[in-house]
């Protein structure tokens, strides 16, 4: 192999190695920062309890919002009309948070039925329902032998 070819080959190999290292680096960071979305029904059906930061979406159940004044915490229930999950959230409720309207809460699970909410994701439009929530609702309103009691 002549020297110029050798040079080209070594450049090529070095670049591949660099690309692989960078790729691994990027992939790791991606995995670490990926937040999965679940509907209350998904959580009920899941055999394990998802760890780490997750998002849960659905409608805010009517008459479920309570304020624990001395702890500066809100408690409410998120439902997809089939299953519920209880959420506790420390912070201010955003403007677009309303009972019977769509909501997405980001937080960690204490157990499958209890979410410690860190952030409530608000959208711009009162009529806007987050697509994940809409899909979850349709899924649950669907007559499906699998979900039948």
């Amino acid at each position: 192999m002549n020297p110029s070819r050798k040079k080209k080959l070594s450049y090529f190999l070095v670049s591949i190695i660099i690309v692989l290292i960078l790729g691994k680096f990027v992939f790791n960071s991606l995995q670490k920062n990926t937040v999965y979305f679940f509907s209350p029904t998904d959580l009920t059906l899941n055999s394990e309890t998802p760890r780490g930061l997750i998002r849960v979406g659905g409608l805010v159940k009517k008459n479920s919002v309570q304020e624990k004044k001395n702890e500066a915490t809100y408690a409410f229930v998120v439902t997809d009309l089939k299953n519920d999950i209880y959420v506790e959230y420390k912070g201010i409720l955003p403007n677009l948070f309303q009972e019977e309207k769509g909501v997405v809460v980001e937080g960690t699970l204490k157990d499958k039925k209890f979410l410690l909410g860190k952030t409530i994701l608000a959208k711009h439009d009162e009529n806007y329902m987050p697509p994940e929530v809409a899909a979850a609702l349709k899924k649950s309103g669907n007559w499906n032998k699998k979900y039948d009691q």
Partner: protein
């Protein structure tokens, strides 16, 4: 009536464009005549037709002509006139008309500013630009016609989302379009140069301004969007790595690489391939961004109307354009070009090559973060979102190194190993930067490693720029330097400001009753009083808050607005500046006010420096168009 004319104009423009293409093909491809007058004439007319059509659409919006569906869906008689007009492009159909108008506008601009270029290149560029114009004109007329009618004519419109009733947001789309849609022209210019075998360093001289012009608009548009998000959304942030934001950032990164690449191509006759690929990449990313925000695949706080059907068409258009341009590249890339791709270590051109690699890496990171959720939903059906920390963690170290490159690169010589020359200066910059870094960290009492690194690298770049300004010799004053100096300085300041902002901003959320006080993190907030106000399209509740920090007092008056049509609440922030930082409050109104009103308070450290940096970066682009007395062309 007006809507009918508007629709007809679009159709006539479509026909005119078709005819001009036909003329070009018949006369200049088949008969090989070099006469283009009729071709140009028809092209110019197609532009005026689109322009007039756009004008008519704006009038329909201004006069609340609800016989047109887009006016009905997006406007209301109570809207102030300014927002009635801006609603013209605040919806999918109208904005697509603006999109087509910008394509056509760039064609005309090119036509008028290329009189000294050889006719065949000129005509061929317009030929390609017309094809792009025709494609999007078809998309507009057949799938997203802004002049579609509704019968019976409603009395009143559905109203415009109050979030969109904001002066900055109103002008944001036009700037973005003048930006990323404008890259269509250099794309056409490149294709025609390849076909005509004129893809060389003189082409690069011509093409450069057609990259810098849209780049400047895009930089401004992105800065505007960031600024708007900051004061309107009320979350104290200026960038959320939201997919829609990324959609405009991706072409920006690619075009920045393109600018540098084209300079090397012009001066050193290198990087011919890089420039070609980057040109295609920039335009394709612009289109891809358009696809992402309109097709409904993205879940984001500010995604456009969801219409998967149109998404398919746009996807198809992107595929065709990408494929054909790459085929032309593969087939017509000059075999024996003047290109000589050997690089000398520690030369200016080598720095730019490295710079391109860095930018491509950064671009890849952003692309991956943006489309990963989409790909996952296709292959595994899972719904996820990518947190902003992903971007921050990866990009930070690379941007720090990148800053050093930006500082040292421009001082090296072209095609010459400048290490010996540079050694002293590099050392000098280091010493000065370390000194200032310690000064800053001492003053602010912060010794976090990332913080120090961020400050050091950005100061390093700033020092190098100041050095250049301080040492330029009057007789060797080269205009380009100022353009680069402004933009590089802006970028250095940007990273410095972002670093400071990241480490020193504060956030406090509390629920307060009238008369209550709250104290945390050394800041005291008093809820003084509340007032009501009524405008013709909303009712407003103001809260007066007194903020005391470091013995300074600020009175802030945020408000909550209850809009009438559509029924919606918005929270208006109140911001006052403390030097380069901001004292910032927004109110939340959920549930029962008798339990208190939620308040989000932010102290945004050196955020104004961020706006200044955006401005400097943009100015750098604009400055390159200022001609000096003894220069004939840009």
């Amino acid at each position: 009536m007006i809507s009918n004319i508007g629709a007809i104009l679009l159709i006539v423009s479509f026909v005119t464009t078709c005819f001009s293409l036909f003329l070009y093909i018949k006369n200049n491809i088949i008969c090989k005549s070099a006469v283009y007058t009729k071709f140009f004439l028809f092209y110019k007319s197609s532009f005026y037709l689109i322009l007039f059509s756009f004008f008519l659409l704006s009038i329909s919006f201004a006069t609340s002509d609800f016989s047109i569906i887009s006016v009905y869906e997006n406007s209301h008689t109570d809207k102030p006139l300014f927002y009635k007009i801006s609603a013209t492009w605040g919806n999918h159909e109208g904005s697509m008309l603006l999109f087509v108008l910008v394509i056509s506008l760039y064609g005309i601009l090119f036509f008028q500013n290329s009189k000294n270029i050889n006719e065949s290149l000129r005509a061929c560029t317009i030929f390609f630009q017309s094809i792009i114009q025709l494609i999007f004109l078809s998309f507009l007329i057949f799938t997203s016609n802004p002049f579609d009618k509704i019968v019976p004519i409603p009395n009143q419109g559905l109203g415009l989302n109050p979030i969109l009733q904001d002066p900055l947001l109103a002008i944001h789309p036009p700037f973005l379009y003048l930006g990323y849609v404008g890259f269509s022209l250099v794309f056409s210019l490149m294709l025609s140069a390849m076909i005509l075998n004129q893809y060389n360093s003189s082409w690069a001289s011509i093409a450069k301004k057609w990259v810098v012009l849209p780049w400047s608009f895009l930089s401004f548009g992105i800065g505007l969007g960031s600024f708007w998000a900051y004061y309107e959304l009320g979350w104290g942030g200026y960038w959320f790595w939201d997919p829609v934001e990324n959609a405009s950032l991706m072409p920006w990164i690619a075009s920045t690489a393109l600018i540098h690449s084209i300079v090397v191509m012009e001066k050193m006759k290198k990087l011919f391939s890089w420039t070609a690929i980057l040109t295609i990449l920039t335009f394709v990313l612009s289109l891809f961004g358009t696809f992402l925000v309109r097709s409904g695949v993205l879940n984001s706080v500010h995604a456009f109307a969801n219409d998967p059907e149109r998404g398919v068409y746009i996807l198809f258009i992107i595929s065709i354009i990408t494929m054909s341009s790459l085929v032309i590249y593969i087939l017509k890339f000059p075999k024996k070009s003047e290109s000589n791709d050997s690089f000398v270590l520690f030369s200016r051109d080598f720095s730019i090559l490295l710079n391109n690699y860095f930018l491509i890496f950064i671009l890849t990171v952003v692309i991956v973060g943006t489309i990963y959720p989409i790909l996952l939903s296709v292959f595994t059906g899972e719904t996820i979102s990518v947190g902003p920390q992903y971007y921050n963690t990866i990009l930070a170290p690379f941007i720090f190194i990148f800053l050093i490159l930006m500082a040292t690169g421009p001082l090296m010589k072209w095609n010459n190993n400048s290490l010996i020359l540079m050694k002293q200066r590099i050392f000098l910059f280091f010493v000065v930067s370390i000194f200032f870094t310690f000064l800053i960290s001492f003053y602010l009492n912060k010794y976090n490693f990332i913080f120090l690194l961020g400050v050091l690298c950005s100061v390093y770049l700033i020092v190098s720029v100041i050095y250049e300004v301080a040492t330029y010799k009057k007789n060797f004053f080269v205009k380009q330097n100022f353009s680069r100096l402004f933009s590089h300085l802006g970028f250095g300041l940007l990273i410095l400001a972002i670093t400071l902002n990241h480490f020193f901003s504060r956030e406090i959320t509390a629920k307060m009753h009238l008369g209550e006080s709250f104290f945390q993190q050394g800041i005291k907030i008093n809820f003084l009083k509340s007032e009501s106000n009524e405008e013709n399209n909303y009712d407003e509740l103001f809260g007066s808050y007194e903020v005391i920090k470091d013995n300074k007092t600020f009175i802030l008056k945020p408000s909550i607005r209850k809009y009438k049509q559509p029924k919606q609440f918005t929270s208006e922030t109140s911001i006052k500046n403390d030097g380069l930082s901001d004292v910032y409050i927004a109110m939340d109104y959920a549930g029962d006010p008798s339990t208190g009103i939620g308040v989000r308070f932010y102290y945004n450290y050196s955020v104004r420096l961020i706006w200044i940096s955006f401005a400097l970066i943009t100015i750098g682009g604009i400055v390159s168009f200022v001609r000096r007395r003894n220069e004939k062309t840009i």
